[in-house]
């Protein structure tokens, strides 16, 4: 193997480190980016979880003084924002980044530097959102001198100013007149920044999906997780512009005195709800579809059967996404929208249960007559299946509009969406973590600890969220700092459950820490899996595939190992071990040099400009603010120029193949 001689063409020196701190800062490798998404999201998961525990400690008694009302409002707002935008979305992005190229037999995503830019924007956006704790201040409301009274939400706070208008930022409560503290601006502009990250990823994944699939991987040979990645990318592409515009409108209302949502000046607070949920409902599917993709990979592997009704599962996913754009006003059944709108949105909401049901039945169909191994990934996948079903069914009761008038804004809804987003998305994601952990670490997570984690979570999760159905039906409203003393018993049970979840998570963290260092080496294909990412060694080599695979069928890797006998039962192919041996060898010692995209400083620099601009907008009244806007813009522009002047791959002298 001859080393290639790079010819430097750029003005600035290019980063060279392949290990250590700078290699991570400058990486454009989808695997490293995926891992960074994962770790970052996990830290936010701990923060969001801690917020939930504080809320639950407070709610352990009806007349609790543990938190002030202001702190309580801040914590439930950031808990929601964190879990949605800084945990479930980026956790899903971690899997998509890591697995999309591996599962379609590609070397990287279509735009590796854009991928790095997405991550850095996400990281800075998340930090920005929380930086309100340090930088927020009370600013005078714009054009509302007439409102007397104690508007100062800085009173009686102990956490500094967290955004406190609810993650849904309903207007006019989250507008300048009623929330004059700029804490809300950190949420508004933070979401704006995070949206850019997601939008870039969406474009990147769509192009990757359509252009970089290995030879022979026709559309209906693409693994379901990758299909769901595509569907989610389209959901992001179509829904994020809506929230971007809505957030700009709020920013202008709050900062520059426009009156889009100010009813006293002819603005419309309900317009915000339409815009928000027109994004917000597709967002729900953005959160759940990746987990559906993950379990669609896990269940067949641990049942040793192909996914039942593959095409139906794929089309149902796309169908859910499509219908997901037509159901937004079911979040607003009580808001006084017209009778016709309530009927229409009630009916579309009912319809969405059909493709969801199709998915569930097909997963059960996959289990049926299988040979089921209850390893930890499978336990989590079954946890997903059983818990998500409950969330789906309580969702149907919301589609019964008059019934929703009773349940909306109560803990019944809190129960419903936690069954979907925790019992669904988070269980699915952790199933994925157990399943693909060997892929990025080369080792196995400990099964015993994994099972303890799973059962603690099943117990804690149900103890936390099942009683909430009852609490809601008993009239406990959401976002409430006080509640009727008759509900104390159930609330204590819920708080107990939340702590069991926390203990379960500790087991996971311990497992992760120990297994990462001393876990059983995984070998190449520890689960006897079905898809291409398991046809290469663990941890994945930097270049992914030394030899780009050619795909002949769905579940390509399985069919390289197994053929079917007359009864349709799998029989190990004679050459299977030799194939594995050969793939291991060429991917460990590639027979010829492989050129990878060069690392770059510019994505992180470009991303760094955005929060500066956002700080500038918040403090635009002062000279410092104006300077920050200019500085941020210049920084991003400079990075853009540098980026443009730097080819993705340096020219290299191709050594003669011998």
């Amino acid at each position: 193997m001859t080393t290639t001689e790079p010819i430097t063409t750029t003005i600035f020196r290019r980063p060279k480190s392949e290990t250590g701190f700078w290699s991570w800062i400058t990486t454009v490798d989808h695997k490293k980016i995926g891992i960074m998404y994962g770790y970052t999201a996990f830290i936010f998961f701990l923060i969001g979880g801690l917020e939930a525990l504080l809320l639950r400690i407070h709610l352990a008694s009806a007349e609790s003084e543990f938190l002030t009302a202001a702190d309580y409002n801040g914590l439930f707002t950031t808990h929601g924002l964190t879990m949605i935008f800084l945990v479930v979305m980026p956790m899903s992005a971690a899997f998509m980044n890591y697995l999309l190229p591996l599962m379609i037999g590609a070397r990287d995503v279509a735009f590796p530097r854009l991928n790095a830019l997405s991550y850095w924007i996400f990281l800075f956006g998340g930090i920005f959102l929380y930086s309100g704790l340090l930088f927020s201040a009370i600013v005078p409301p714009l054009g509302n001198e007439g409102v007397p009274g104690n508007l100062d939400p800085g009173d009686a706070r102990s956490f500094g100013a967290l955004p406190d208008g609810g993650w849904f930022l309903y207007q006019p409560n989250a507008g300048g007149a009623f929330s004059p503290s700029n804490a809300i601006d950190f949420a508004v502009l933070g979401l704006q920044i995070l949206g850019i990250a997601s939008l870039l990823s969406a474009v990147n994944f769509i192009v990757t999906f359509f252009n970089l699939r290995a030879k022979g991987m026709r559309l209906l040979r693409v693994p379901v997780f990758i299909w769901m990645t595509l569907v989610v990318a389209f959901l992001l592409l179509f829904s994020l512009p809506i929230i971007a515009i809505a957030l700009f409108m709020v920013t202008f209302d709050r900062q520059f005195g426009t009156l889009f949502f100010d009813a006293t000046a002819g603005g419309d607070p309900i317009l915000w709800q339409h815009l928000f949920w027109l994004f917000g409902h597709p967002e729900v599917y953005i959160l759940i579809l990746p987990a559906m993709g993950i379990v669609s990979e896990i269940i067949p592997v641990f049942s040793r059967k192909p996914l039942f009704g593959y095409a139906a599962v794929v089309f149902a996913g796309a169908g859910i996404a499509f219908l997901g754009f037509g159901v937004w006003a079911h979040h607003m059944f009580a808001s006084g929208i017209s009778t016709v709108a309530q009927v229409g949105f009630g009916l579309t909401t009912i319809t969405i249960a059909i493709p969801t049901g199709v998915k569930i039945f097909n997963w059960v169909g996959t289990l049926w007559l299988g040979k089921i191994r209850l390893a930890t990934p499978m336990l989590f996948a079954l946890g997903f299946l059983t818990m998500f079903t409950i969330g789906g069914l309580s969702g149907v009761t919301h589609a019964v509009v008059p019934s929703d008038w009773q349940q909306t804004d109560t803990y019944y809804v809190v129960a419903h969406f936690h069954y979907v987003l925790f019992g669904g998305a988070i269980f699915g994601i952790f199933g994925g973590l157990y399943y693909w952990f060997p892929k990025f670490s080369g080792r196995m997570l400990n099964e015993r600890l994994g099972k303890i984690h799973f059962w603690l979570w099943m117990l804690g999760f149900n103890l936390t969220f099942a009683p909430m159905h009852w609490l809601g039906l008993q009239g406990m409203i959401r976002r409430t700092w006080r509640y009727d003393p008759s509900l104390e018993f159930w609330n204590r049970l819920v708080t107990l459950g939340a702590f069991i979840i926390a203990v379960g998570l500790l087991f996971f963290m311990w497992n992760f820490y120990v297994s990462k260092r001393r876990g059983t080496p995984a070998g190449m294909d520890p689960w006897d899996a079905r898809t291409l990412e398991w046809s290469i060694p663990n941890p994945t080599p930097a270049f992914n595939f030394a030899e780009v695979p050619v795909v002949h069928s769905l579940d390509e890797w399985w069919h390289e190992k197994y053929e079917e006998d007359k009864a349709g039962r799998p029989v190990r192919r004679d050459g299977a071990e030799a194939t594995i041996e050969r793939l291991h060898e060429i991917n460990t010692n590639p027979p010829h040099p492989i050129h990878l995209p060069n690392p770059s400083y510019f994505p992180i620099v470009m991303a760094a400009g955005l929060p500066l601009i956002a700080y500038g907008i918040i403090f635009h009244v002062s000279l410092l603010g104006k300077a920050l806007i200019v500085a941020g813009t210049l920084l991003s522009l400079a990075a853009l120029i540098g980026w443009g002047s730097e080819p993705l791959e340096e020219a290299h002298v191709e050594p003669a193949h011998t």
Binding site: A334, W405, L473
Partner: protein
């Protein structure tokens, strides 16, 4: 052995929990206890759907459990046949749920249509949401009150609602579902209680710091009692005799409270100005501060001494009232029947 002891402890805990659950009274906001025709209609929609959902729940979860037990990988178990799917089944489990859901859709649509428009001859009231109290107006009888909505039992009440500031949400679970109060818009809500009685209500839309303390209680009175109540509300407050503590209280009220609070015939705060509750018949309500505190002289004293302490974010500031002023105000307020 340790395991068995643990099991015993667990069983004991379950039994104890079970006992205490049986002993728990329903919450006053229980949405499963309809006391009027509209809430009743919703209740009769909820339960059939609940049981259908329960049946599907049992079916799916049962199938998963059975599969996990029956088809578990055990020594000697043969490799499974590689079944890729079954189109007949796909059609079946698309069509059957669709039919069931159509069955759910029909009564849903009828329910929406029947429940959203007020009936002819309903008694009109106006509800205005404020941070953090509800204002009630009776346009037919020229009455204005707050915190507790008094309605005639056995008769439909049609509430036309709006908000003076942010979104609020009027919810009396035993009488109907929720409806927002939206600034700059009007929404309607039908309310009817079959029997006289007190029905607990609550603002259900997050509306800021004191959201959880914003009550929306309804008191239903028999036809006669309601007529008498209306008449009592139409009377202006009596002027306290000179030299009494109440007269001193009136003076404090005039000096300190009239910017926000109306007492007929002492003063009128214009409707478009920033408003606190009309206090003309304060004692009739039984609540202080939009429902944050039940009325007792001690509670009123606490409230007057420092309102934001009692109700986070309260727009009524700490006026720095002296103990004499507070005592005088309480004496006066107690005359406002």
């Amino acid at each position: 052995m340790a395991f068995r002891r643990l099991l015993l402890l667990g069983a004991l805990a379950v039994v104890l929990a079970g006992c205490s659950v049986i002993g728990i009274p329903d919450s006053p906001l229980n949405s499963l206890d309809p006391e009027g025709p509209f809430a009743q209609r919703i209740d009769s929609l909820f339960w059939p759907v609940f049981w259908v959902a329960t049946a599907i729940f049992v079916l799916v979860e049962g199938a998963v459990l059975v599969a996990a037990l029956l088809f578990r990988d055990r020594p000697g178990r043969k490799e499974p046949r590689q079944i890729h799917g079954n189109n007949k089944l796909e059609i079946l489990w698309t069509v059957i749920p669709a039919v069931i859901l159509a069955g759910v859709a029909v009564p849903t649509v009828r329910g929406i249509i029947d429940l959203t428009t007020c009936g002819a001859g309903a008694y009109p009231v106006e509800i205005i949401g404020h941070q953090w109290w509800f204002e009630y107006r009776y346009p037919e009888d020229n009455v204005e009150t707050a915190t507790v909505l008094v309605i005639p039992a056995g008769r439909e009440v049609c509430a036309t609602m709006t908000s003076a500031d942010v979104l609020h949400n009027y919810w009396v679970p035993q009488l109907n579902g929720k409806r927002y109060l939206v600034p700059g818009q009007e929404t309607t809500l039908r309310l009817q209680a079959d029997e006289p009685g007190d029905y607990r209500g609550q603002c259900a839309e997050f509306c800021g710091l004191a959201h959880s303390l914003m009550r929306a209680d309804v008191r239903a009175l028999s036809e006669d009692d309601f007529a008498a109540w209306i008449e009592s509300q139409q009377r202006p407050a009596a002027e306290p005799a000179e030299g009494t503590p109440a007269a001193a209280g009136l003076e404090v009220f005039v000096n300190r409270c009239t910017q926000c609070h109306t007492i007929d015939p002492v003063n009128i705060v214009p409707a478009d100005a920033f408003n606190g509750p009309n206090l003309t018949h304060f004692m009739n309500r039984g609540w202080i501060a939009g429902g944050a505190l039940v009325y007792t002289p001690e509670n009123l004293e606490r409230w007057l001494a420092n309102p934001p302490e009692v109700k986070p974010g309260s727009f009524m500031p700490d006026l720095g009232l002296t103990q004499e002023e507070i005592d005088a105000l309480i004496a006066y307020v107690e005359t406002l029947q």
